[in-house]
């Protein structure tokens, strides 16, 4: 079985974000980019599935040359092959999904893992979109995954609980924290990954429906009040919550 993982390359979650000169995207200067944290769960689940059932794994990323770092990391963790869909331009989620769907079709992957969300634009939609374009079944925000023959059983997180979902291959799964513990790349894996070739392909050009007009900073919050330094401040805090904020 061919298993694909789609990975994005994003600013580290601790990065300070400043807005670029064009006022539409971030200024990448001084920002460290990493594997999207949710995609590490996707990589791990692909590796675990291959270890159990055999098959071949491929990581796919759409973006500029810098995305090779993330693909390299996936290879170092144990993914067999990597494909960069090289494109430096802005793409909305649907046009990312269209390019990924084409490549997944070319690869003939029957099982595809995505992260739940890419922590740059925080959309949480590309996996579901790709599945619809491919006509694959899809379960999103998955915290447990089991494959038995072609039968897929997952749990997905919802408000106040979980849904147990049944479906079948071919399928797209989007992964949530809690699904597994991503492994660290071994030194051997890192060395081997350095030697591997990352295939580069040109995706069809974007046709965007979602246009960014402006990127801006959130309104700064007014500095709050430190009411006191011990329990003697509690009555005043409660009074403020009742009379000023009117929340209790």
């Amino acid at each position: 079985m061919k298993i694909a993982v789609c990975v994005s390359h994003v600013p580290d979650t601790a990065a300070k974000i400043s807005i670029g000169g064009d006022g539409k995207c971030i200024d990448p200067a001084g920002v460290t980019f990493v594997v999207n944290p949710y995609d590490e769960y996707a990589i791990e689940e692909a590796l675990k599935t291959k270890e159990k059932l055999g098959g071949e794994t491929v990581a796919i990323s759409l973006g500029g040359d810098s995305h090779k770092e993330t693909l390299r990391k996936a290879l170092a963790m144990g993914i067999d092959n990597a494909v960069l869909l090289k494109d430096n331009s802005y793409r909305d989620s649907l046009s990312v999904a269209k390019a990924l769907a084409e490549e997944i079709k070319t690869q003939g992957a029957e099982l595809v893992f995505f992260g739940k969300q890419s922590v740059d634009f925080d959309n949480s939609v590309v996996g579901q979109m790709t599945s619809e374009l491919l006509g694959y079944n899809c379960v999103s925000v998955v915290v447990s995954f089991a494959l038995d023959g072609s039968k897929v059983t997952c749990e997905r997180e919802i408000e106040g609980g979980k849904e147990v979902v049944e479906t079948s291959l071919p399928a797209v799964i989007t992964t949530q924290k809690g699904l597994n513990e991503p492994r660290y790349a071994s030194l051997k894996g890192i060395m081997a990954a350095k030697k591997k070739e990352i295939a580069e392909k040109q995706p069809a050009p974007a046709n965007n429906f979602v246009e960014v007009i402006a990127m801006k900073r959130p309104a700064a919050k007014q500095a709050g009040k430190i009411v006191g330094t011990d329990s003697s401040a509690v009555p005043e805090l409660v009074r403020l919550l009742r009379e000023e904020a009117k929340v209790i």
């Binding site: 539409k24 649907l94 106040g160 924290k177 402006a214 409660v238």
Partner: protein, 321 residues
Amino acid sequence: MTKFLVFIEQRNGQIKKSSFEAAKTASGLASKLGGSVEAVAVGSEISNLESLGGFGVDKVTHLKNETVTNYSPSAYTQAVVKFVSENGFDSILLAASSMGKDLAPRVAAKLDAGLAVDCVALNVEGSNIIATRPVYAGKALVDVKVTSSVKVFALRPNVFSAGTPTDAKAEVAVTIIDSPNLNVKVVEVKKSEGKLDVSEADAIVAGGRGMKGPEHFGMIEELAKLLGAATGASRAVVDSGWRPHSEQVGQTGKVVSPTLYIAVGISGAIQHIAGMRSSKYIVAINKDKDAPIFQIADYGIAGDVFEVLPKFIDEIKKVKS
């Protein structure tokens, strides 16, 4: 003239509050742009659909099938896409809840429509709707314009006002859907027992590593109970196994915007703040007066949790009795 459609989310036949928010928002946009507001709901039995009239909806279509009791991604997508294709809508609004975030991209992909998800504001500029949405975990916002002929907007729950409903009743039409696509099927819903979820709560009391150990979270629970609040946690305590993952607030947990967020023994790391900065009122209790949480807190006590929290609980008991 813009034809708006609101997707109504129901669980166990009950309409979700965030769907009323979406309905009210659509009717506000329709009155500015000129247009009509219809709604659609999928499922077996759904109560109170006519009440959507009170939020500005003219007509609700219930796409009904006895076998679709729980959410089914495949059945819902098929039903909504068919309904939109047959009736022609310009803009589709829904809540960016677990269900909405799963459904919206599927529907958008099928309709070849642009999608703005997790919107925190929708404004009219000329004849366009400009959606504002947080990016980079709320460290920035983008204004986006959707340019496809069908547009989909998913609204972050708890941000848009549902207003006070009027007595108006919506016309309800029932359409039976044949042979729903149940290729992806929810076979069971496991509820976390009697617990209010952080993503739906109007108030949250969250504990961090400053609570020192899982045995002290009884105080967090007690305060939450007194306030009718949900209990939340930082990732540090979730990773330590003190609290379940479902309580984690932050960039890799849940993004919340309650009216009141009380952070107890939480430092306010950038990834935690990402998940709760849009709360209306933030209260922090932390012994370190320089903890970053105080930079976004409205009120704080720079003191020891074990001294402050018991007194806080007592004081709330007093005002509640």
